[in-house]
Every structure is written in C-alpha cells, then in structure tokens.
Symmetry: C2
Subunit: 302 residues, 2 copies
Amino acid sequence: MTDTYFVAVDWGTSGFRLWVIGRDGSVLDSTTAPLGMSRLKRNDFDRVLEESLDKLGIAQDVPAIICGMAGAAQGWCEAPYLCAPTRLDALGEGAVSVRGATRNVHILPGVKQMAPANVMRGEETQIAGLLHAEPSFAGTVCLPGTHTKWVQVKDGAIQHFETCMTGEQFAFFSQTSVLSHSMILDGWSDNAFRSAVRLATQDPVAVPRRLFSIRADMLVRDQDSATARATLSGLLIGQELMSVVHYWRDQSVTLIGAPPLCEIYLMALDFLGVGGRSLDVETTTLAGLAAAFHIQTGTVHA
Amino acid sequence: MTDTYFVAVDWGTSGFRLWVIGRDGSVLDSTTAPLGMSRLKRNDFDRVLEESLDKLGIAQDVPAIICGMAGAAQGWCEAPYLCAPTRLDALGEGAVSVRGATRNVHILPGVKQMAPANVMRGEETQIAGLLHAEPSFAGTVCLPGTHTKWVQVKDGAIQHFETCMTGEQFAFFSQTSVLSHSMILDGWSDNAFRSAVRLATQDPVAVPRRLFSIRADMLVRDQDSATARATLSGLLIGQELMSVVHYWRDQSVTLIGAPPLCEIYLMALDFLGVGGRSLDVETTTLAGLAAAFHIQTGTVHA
C-alpha cells in the first residue's frame, strides 16, 4: 500500500469507524470496532488505534485525523469546541495534535452554542462534508440518531442548532420501559407511524399521556407489536418535529444519517408537506474528515 | 395475636407491602419485601406470602386481600379489570378467589378504560380508600409515581383517567441517559425546579429540545447537579401537567403518593395557581383494602 495518504476516523461514544485513504482520495480499506469513548480510558485510545492499523498493515508514518467523542474532555485528547456561529473550514484549523501518540494524530473540535446551550461532536464534520460537496449550501440539516441534531447552515457556517434525544428515548421506551412488553416481536407499520405522527403534530402537548396508551392498547385491545413500535416512533418523532418547527417550516430538509432512520424522518416530513432528501452518512463523514485534513496540513484537497 | 382479622397486601411490580389488621381495624404488624410481580413466577406468590406471614406468626386461617399487579395476567391470579366508569365498591364484589392458595386469598381487580385505552392496578384501591374516608368526594385525584395517574372521581366512581410515564422517564433520564453525567451528585434546587416548570408550562412543545440542554449547560456553563436534577424534574412534570390540563384547570387536586413526590407536584401546581392537598398513601391503601375486604366478605366495616 505505497499510496496510502492518511487515515480518517469517526470515533464516537459507542464505537469507531476507520478508513484508509489513498493519495487519489479513494478508500483503500476500512474497519469498525465497538470501542467507543464510553468503553475506553484516555490511555487506551492510542493502543486501540495502532492495533487496528497494524491489522490493516498501515505504517506508523501515515497520519490520522479523527472526529467525534475522542475529542471530548473524557476522550483521548480534548479538542476545544468551536463556538457557533462558526465556519466549518475552522474545523481543520482547530484540529488538536495529540501529544505522545504513536503517529501524527489530529482530532477535530466539536461545536458548542451558548444560548441555548448545546454541543455536538461528529455531526459538524458531516456538515463540513456536505459543504465540501455543495459549497453554497444553505438551509436546514437534520442528523437523526441517538441525539438528533437540527442545524441551520448558511455562508459555510453552522449558524444555530438544536438537539433532541429522540433516539435515546426510543431505545429506552422500546427496550426497557413498560412499553417494551408491547413490542417484543419485530415489525413495523407505516400506517401506524403516520397516524402517530398526525396525532403528535396536531396535538403535541398530548404526547406524554399518549405514550402509556401503547401499553394499554395491547392489554385492552390486543394491539400488535408492529403497531406499537411504529406508534412509539411516530409519537416521538412527531413531538420532536413540533419542537423544532422553525427548522423545517417553509423549507426542505437535508438528512444525514442511517438510511432506515432517514427514511422514516422523510416519511414524517412528507406527511407534513415538507420536502427532503437524505445523504449517505459515510460519504459525508469521509468528505468532512478529508476536507479538514487538507486544511490542517495545508495541502490541496484531492 | 388472637385478635388478628385479616391480612392486607399491596403487591406491585417491584415489591409488596403487607399489613396485619386486627378486629378493631388497627394495624398489628407490617412488613415489606422487594419481591414484586416482575421478579416472581406464578407459582412463587403463594410461597412468598406464606413465608412472610410465617415470620410474623400469622395462622393459615387468617384470610388475605391483595391489590395491585398480583392480579395482572402475568401475576399470581388474573383479576379481570373493571371497566371505567366504575363505582369503587365494585372492587370488593369483583375480588377473585385464588384457587390452590394455602389460605383464603382474594385479589382485587384493576380498572381499565377503553377510549383512550388505559389501565391501573393498585391506584383504584387507594381511591377507594379516599372514598371510604370521604364518601361524597368528587374531583381530581393525582397519584404520582412510576406511572402517574390522573383520575376524575364522581358519584363514588372512577369516571375517567390518564397515565403519564413521568416517574419512569425521570429515572431513565437521570440514571441512564446522557443527562445522568450532569447529575452524578445529589441535590435539588426549588428555584431551578420552578424555572423549569415555568418553561415547560409556558411552552410545552419546546420540552423535547430543552432536555439535552441540561447536559450542554453543564458542559458549556458548569451547571451543578442540583440544578440539573431539579430542571429535569420540572421539565417533565411541567410537560405532564400541560398534557392533563383538563384535570386540574379550575379545580383543586388531591394527591396520593410518596410524600416527597407529592410535595414537588404541589409546588408545581401552586406555581400554576392550582390548589392541592396530599394524602398519606399507606393510609389510603389500607382503607381501600379494608373496605374491599368487608364488601367481599359481606361484613360490616370496622
């Protein structure tokens, strides 16, 4: 692999994804591992990275650029937040060099917002990837996931953003809470999802008392698991959408996330008459890491 | 203990509480154990009850009356739901005799509601206890807990009720979710609670995007644990209150629950200009079980 240029890593809370990038910008190899920040101590990161790269035969003189929770205070090496509004070419400029690392490693900063208080680590790099592909992009980006981000982008910068814990709440309600007993089987119902989105968007204030009905509907009416799961998802996403209505009213939404999740967000937005599109999360992450790498190293982007 | 009359048991999901009642209606003895429905198989209930009563020296000819999840389909012996609206003297009439039990055991039914679907098991007995003390009571009862119930009572009957999963959500957010990292220390702030109740009641739709701010406020502003915990509680309770506004607007609320929890609900209601009072949950549970026992056995209430 004589043409290896750098290693790009998205290192999150629960795992990491790593790509080996060639001088022509192509992906030469990649790997993932469930070794996220939450399972690592500060001294573990270097070893974990080197072991992964050793398996792929990557020499120690190949530099690495990392985004995500590895840059958190509890991560490998803190990369202080940029403060929104912030241009995203500042990501590469703000990259922090990790002292004592086996190889040349830089970690990208996250973005914070002071009022209302908010933080992101990782999503800013995906948005940088979107801006690399579409430099004049302006509008709303939604990055659905454990903590879904809604971001207003303009003039190459993150202007403002909000976070909803919808993914983490869905996991809790569907896997741990009393509602989990009503969705022990797999399955999904688009109709039930749309009905729940309608209920939640027409009367978002009622959602707290509608959640338990998912359990009761099974007990008194034998409602099936597919309906229960889709109803839960629709209530939570509908409630989220009403919470960030200023992000999507009268404009289309660009989604970046796991394809199945983007699909149901698009379904909910479509129900509300809002247009949208979804972008591949791996492509945008890689593009953002590559753009930051080139800025950090002062090289011309491939 | 020659004057033992019957045994009253509140057998819930996570544990049970048992009282030995004398012929004069007094409590002769009591015990608790963390052996709730969720930890027991159907065949375990009889053994657990007998071991507890054996330790207290209660003979096998003393009958027992039970309310709560022991009567669920997954409990000891299913006691089919009464259907709201339902008078609460029907609890004793609907008590189910447990076949094969070592002693004479009756389990009280819960209450279901068809539209919107809802269920309760245990809270109906507490309301029966309230009605025993105040037969002409009419109004709203709130039973805060893991699954908080809001109940309209009139003409000796449960007319209508709602359930909010606020307690279960608070436990999740404060102990498991990413917000837990912002409230690892103990503490509470009445001011932060009231501020959050104000935010949530003035703009309930915004609550989903305000939750993550609890985490971000610590990261960007070093907010303390006491403020974080009280803010979480205030946002969730405020959101719940707006969801059931038809239960408390223009009327006072009678709370039945754990005293510290009743206290913060009263604080939130007071902030909204709503009057309230709290009743002792043990007293009301016992009164409800005793009333049902006397109806079930056709005896005159002590």
